[in-house]
Subunit: 312 residues, 3 copies
């Protein structure tokens, strides 16, 4: 196997096609092995310790990483509310916290409210840092599992057309995924959102520079028949000045059994979860619905990352 050159994982831009291939190959292998022989990996990272340092709550993401570590036989130190409960509340800098924590763990998974915090921690840390979401910044492992799920459904990612729907301004998952898609050829992305949460210029510029076609759209119905993958996200009330505007806007971007009839037979529906009502529950039974598969795939992608970063 080609040597895995990354030390930390803080943003999607770090990955090239070669790295993505390594990660996905290891994830595939683990997925297959675990189904057949669950004890196969139970000692792989036996002497390693992962610290979950969550300055913001996210049981889902935290459990996904911790489950991955447990499946590989590693130990876990965990905090679900580092901000309120740790010395951060006494005014300690992230620099100091990281310097100390990397003496206690062999790898740190960090969720933080400040964009750029994971990268900053990586600069100080003597052990690998994985960004598990840094405010409105990035969530690179979510982008990896998204891409892995897409790859799992289509023979190749080249040539696919996407719709990213909902809160594109503050949704870090669509930002991170957009970055990753520039690694492939003939990609087209439709950004479908209310005016107040349009995708930021930096991403659109990055796509243009990297030869990815993109287009903004207001109507979900018009875009649905055109895409191979619709990626839904939750629109947050807080983005709107008044409740009426919110209800009008969010109502337009709900995927229900009627709307998915507009989609291609061989297309997929994704969502980073948690959802509120932007995909109705009846859609779950449609074979195109892939959001719960995304969650499961997250486990294997994170197992692969932990293994590649730690087993050296």
């Amino acid at each position: 196997m080609t040597r895995f050159s990354l030390k930390h994982v803080y943003e999607s831009q770090q990955f090239d096609l070669e790295l993505l291939d390594i990660i996905f190959k290891v994830a595939d292998e683990m997925k297959n092995d675990l189904l057949a022989k669950p004890r196969l990996y139970a000692d792989v990272l036996k002497d390693k310790i992962m610290a979950s340092l969550f300055y913001e709550p996210s049981t889902r993401t935290r459990f996904s990483f911790e489950s991955a570590m447990a499946r590989l036989g590693g130990s876990i130190l965990t905090t679900e509310n580092a901000k309120e409960f740790s010395s951060a509340s006494k005014g300690e800098t992230l620099y100091d916290s990281t310097s100390v924590m990397c003496g206690y763990a062999d790898l740190i998974v960090m969720r933080h409210n400040e964009p750029g915090s994971a990268k900053m921690a990586a600069e100080v840390s003597s052990v690998p840092i994985i960004n598990a979401g840094d405010g409105s910044g990035q969530h690179p492992t979510q982008a990896l599992l998204d891409l892995y799920t897409i790859k799992d459904n289509f023979s190749t990612i080249d040539g696919l057309t996407f719709a990213m729907v909902g809160d594109l301004k503050y949704g870090r998952t669509v930002r991170s995924l957009s970055y990753l898609l520039t690694k492939y050829n003939n990609i087209k992305i439709y950004y479908v959102s209310p005016l107040v949460c349009k995708m930021d210029e930096d991403i659109k510029d990055y796509l243009t520079t990297n030869n990815v076609e993109w287009e903004e759209a207001g109507s979900l119905e018009k875009v649905l028949p055109l895409v191979d993958c619709v990626y839904m996200t939750r629109i947050q009330k807080e983005r709107f000045h008044n409740l009426k505007d919110y209800e009008k806007a969010s109502g337009k971007y709900i995927l229900d059994v009627e709307k998915i009839k507009l989609m291609k037979q061989k297309s997929i529906i994704m969502h980073p979860l948690p959802r509120v009502d932007e995909i109705s529950q009846e859609v779950d039974k449609d074979p195109r619905a892939q959001y719960f598969n995304q969650a499961v795939n997250g486990l294997y992608v994170r197992m692969a990352l932990l293994y590649l970063l730690l087993d050296r």
Copy 2:
């Protein structure tokens, strides 16, 4: 061994005598083995992951389950305040949360504020769910360890007389235990409580239908000489309209060294803990006091359950 047919544990009504026998036999065996050879079970569930999903705080119950899992060599994912800190606060349904979590763990222990939530989760989940308390609903593993403790003290449960004392309306432990006692013959239960927290009709009807004799009483002193087992519970201030009523009521249901003189020589005193002042501390030294033994027995009963649900 007869095959253990349960997939989930959400309410006391699921258990029949055969299932109870299996659980208690395994618990007995583990209790004896662990005292002699603590490492004997250290690899039994080595490749299994248990998730503690606590939407309400309960360090005691959570530690009991996690200790049981650790003694069997399994891994643990834990959250002590899922409600406030997880995507539940973003409006996600229990249906979605469960669907995702069962991809990360091989078994989920759930404490939730809504009655019926564990059963609902069990309907969705691909992995076993254990109800660790669902609001004013049930707490079936507490009932199991209560029953196990009773069995440990008397040669047989048939023919025993009980007093359940305190907050019978909101105390789910006395509800769950009442259900379980219907499996045995010639049981009599005295329900001793202030008027505002009397046992609900549904339980009393269930007992009548299942040929268990019951009687309501206001005086603890009159009942004490008649019973083999007194099961004390805490009366909560919030149930009363004013503090005076509360103090008057709760004062009547305190077990102290004077009152236990009224009890039979061969009887036992139980409490699900935590206690505040409904049993005075001097009673702890009396050999009839079994409440700390209950806590220890909880460990073995939960080990047995985890083993029976997971080792397949």
Copy 3:
């Protein structure tokens, strides 16, 4: 090896030179071994369970203990906010909580807001209790790792001169370390602090009784050239009646690159962490700065303690 006679660790006064030697020898051994063969200790405490019972938040201290336990292969039960989330909030006594918890774990690490609580728990507990800080009381394992770090830097502790700086009244680390230093010969301690947070009389009396020379000083600059070790602590705003007094006082006790020029070439700078601004970040690069080493040493000292208390 001499038999390790302690059952619990609740205060610095428990240690004599012989016990300190045993702990430091084991810590040294583990430090060397782990660098060379990280898997060497991965099964040592395989069948043991440690419970972190933190009534007050301290991610740093908690992770240090849990990392130590994980490196020795043990299991961990953890709670980061026992006070708010456990039955303590329902009015349960520490006596009851401890009685129950010692049925679930083989050792309890306790942080509590009440001075004396760890010692009280130790009186009830059937398993070892380690005090991880009891309010303004003590933090004995911090004192042990401080002493271990001093020993690591100087051939012998006898004859060294110390400055303890900052909040000496409420800082339990300087209290615990002062106790330990009485075990050595020809020690001199300068207590440098604002008037409102002077070292309490009990410690100064204890030093006098035990033939340790001490002196109070207001000026950091005057003391710095005289000492082998300066131990900085954070001054808390809450101690002062108004903000101006606080700013004036705390400003006087900041260690920066200018001030450390006054220190001996072969001296060390310590801090229990977290720091706010009492040591400027540029000082970190100076080889005399030992505060991040203290944190790392904490791991080995705690591994040694866990091993000595549990491997019997």
